[in-house]
């Protein structure tokens, strides 16, 4: 296991607002990290710092490089798709591939052509003639054809229909991910990527609320659905969040044995989305 991203006390401020507030974390190779947070939580800023697109305070190293100062070297090993990093509308697909081929030492034209052959995208089309889903397919094909160590996806499927979204993630797993490459991904549609992730990091107000691998979430977090007098008994055990569903109370606990709770009602591991909401709401209380 190699450390791909090492961040220590990283902050980024814009004037009076602090977008990223003193965060520290490590990402190992071969992981698929979900970076989850509400709008304006600082996810995109943090990713930009990792990509060397913005400078930051603190110590940040990606693949052993300083992302802001050594962006060119870094970009040989990193790819990213962001909903804001759109492909230029005037370019033809073939020109785009020619260009990336001529400037990217780790790009395989052959592989990109193979991947595109499985889609409806024509080499002679201009990007502006493609649907939004096809543009994302094109972008993913290019990136998959780059032998990169780290892939950063910032809301890659925003605005796509469900079929494109499902295809996107299955292509990502089948064509790109090989167990050694590393992926950092942010999305609002957490449910769709829940099964891909090996790690999750919750970020809120520029701070990391939770950083854990998915397997240990099961050991740490329990969701109890209780009703009647059991609710009071369960509350005594100190849940960090509580919500109501169909007249029953759902209480979320951290670091408690399941057996202790199962007497009060149904017990399960919370979804990442539910856990996220619980964590963020719990923190704001």
């Amino acid at each position: 296991m190699k450390t791909i991203v090492h961040a220590q006390n990283v902050s980024k401020t814009f004037g009076a607002t602090t977008a990223v507030d003193n965060v520290s974390f490590d990402i190992e190779s071969g992981r698929i990290m979900g970076l989850i947070g509400p709008n304006g939580a600082g996810k995109t800023t943090l990713l930009k710092a990792v990509l060397g697109l913005t400078d930051c305070q603190g110590s940040l190293s990606v693949l052993g490089l300083d992302p802001f100062k050594q962006r060119k070297e870094l970009m040989q090993h990193i790819c990213f798709i962001a909903d804001v990093a759109v492909l230029p509308s005037w370019i033809k697909v073939a020109q785009l591939l020619d260009f990336v081929e001529s400037i990217h030492p780790r790009f395989s034209r052959e592989k990109a052509d193979q991947l595109l052959a499985t889609t409806k995208i024509l080499a002679t089309s201009k990007v502006r003639e493609l649907s939004k889903g096809m543009v994302t397919q094109l972008h993913l094909s290019i990136i998959t054809a780059v032998d990169a160590k780290l892939l950063v996806l910032d809301e890659p499927t925003l605005g796509l229909d469900i079929i494109f979204r499902k295809d996107f993630y299955s292509n990502l797993l089948n064509d790109y991910f090989d167990g050694e490459r590393t992926i950092i991904i942010t999305t609002h549609q957490v449910e769709e990527i829940e099964n891909l992730l090996t790690d999750v990091m919750f970020i809120n107000d520029g701070r990391i609320v939770l950083n854990s691998n998915v397997d240990s979430l099961r050991d740490h977090f329990v969701e109890l659905t209780a009703s009647g007098e059991n609710i009071e008994k369960a509350r005594a055990l100190g849940p960090f969040n509580e919500r109501e569903v169909f007249g029953k109370s759902v209480l979320t606990f951290e670091g408690i044995e399941r057996e202790k709770l199962s007497a009060f009602g149904g017990v399960r591991t919370p979804d990442i989305a539910d856990l996220f909401v619980a964590k963020v709401k719990g923190a704001s209380k």
């Binding site: 930009k48 060119k72 970009m75 804001v84 759109v86 230029p88 001529s102 400037i103």
Partner: protein
């Protein structure tokens, strides 16, 4: 590094097709005007034939002078077109990628901001003049060819009248030197346009032109001096590349005196050494370098937007 530059410049030509389309349109217009003109004057059959006879009987140097003047007029139309194109290109070059939001895609590739901005500077200062030169040469050939056919149809000897006399290579060499020299001489403007293009959030043309027009006016009314005016406008008009030739004389009767003395050669009227040694040139290059560096930094540090 050089490979990247070639790829980046090719990219500029894909994005800005106007860089070669516009000169071609000007060429087509010139050729059409020429054909129309020749058809129109053919109505004065007798006078034309007399003129052609006269042209046959003057010396080869005089004919060369007349044809060179004609070629120079065509070239100067292209120079005007080229500078309009250069202004619009350089103002758009770093603005369009922000407007269509593709900048983050370009920056996701292993290219430095310096390489990207320099490719745009090279496109403006070298590629555009080279394209213009190529189109000028083709236009010259087309116009001379069409004239030859027209002259031939009237029974005159086109080889003797035109091709034997015309100093094509000298003309093109001089055009080449002048286009590049002019580009380097005016490069501070290109640097300024690149900076505005990388910085402004809207209407780059307005943002670029306002300071150029307003600042000298302010200087004049507040400081009562004309330093900026001189630096911006007086300098621009006085490119120190011509030898001490009476250029205005070329357009009156002295043209024939100059021409008959030692044959017409525009290259011999240019003082490339003197141009390269002139402090004004290097001051301009430094100003261009400063603006370009600023443009690189703006592109690099503007992670916020």
């Amino acid at each position: 590094m050089i490979g990247n530059q070639l790829a980046l410049i090719r990219r500029e030509l894909w994005e800005h097709r106007s860089l070669y389309v516009v000169p071609c349109v000007v060429a087509i217009v010139i050729v059409l005007v020429e054909i129309t003109g020749q058809t129109a004057v053919s109505a004065f059959g007798k006078h034309i034939d007399m003129a052609l006879l006269g042209a046959t009987n003057i010396g080869v140097n005089e004919r060369a002078a007349v044809i060179s003047a004609l070629m120079a007029v065509m070239s100067s139309l292209f120079v005007i077109e080229m500078w309009i194109l250069t202004i619009f290109y350089s103002l758009d070059s770093l603005y369009a990628e922000r407007k269509d939001k593709s900048i983050l895609f370009w920056r996701s590739l292993p290219i430095t901001d310096a390489e990207t901005v320099i490719s745009k500077l090279l496109t403006a200062l070298v590629v555009i003049p080279l394209i213009t030169l190529a189109v000028i040469a083709v236009t010259h050939l087309l116009v001379l060819l069409i004239t030859s056919i027209w002259v031939g149809m009237r029974g005159a000897n086109a080889w003797h009248l035109i091709w034997d006399a015309v100093p094509l290579v000298d003309n093109w060499a001089a055009t080449f030197i002048l286009l590049l020299a002019l580009a380097i001489w005016l490069s501070p403007f290109v640097g300024w346009f690149l900076l505005v293009s990388s910085y402004t959030r809207r209407s780059p043309l307005l943002m670029a032109m306002l300071p150029i027009i307003l600042l000298p006016m302010l200087e004049r009314s507040i400081l009562k001096s004309t330093l900026l005016f001189d630096a911006l406008f007086v300098r621009s008009g006085k490119i120190p590349i011509y030898k001490d030739v009476d250029l205005e004389g070329l357009f009156d009767e002295k043209m024939f005196q100059i021409a008959s003395a030692d044959g017409i050669s525009i290259v011999s009227m240019l003082d490339v050494g003197g141009f390269l040694a002139s402090p004004g040139l290097w001051a301009g290059i430094i100003v261009c370098g400063l603006f370009t560096t600023a443009a690189i930094y703006v592109r690099r540090f503007r992670g916020e937007s």
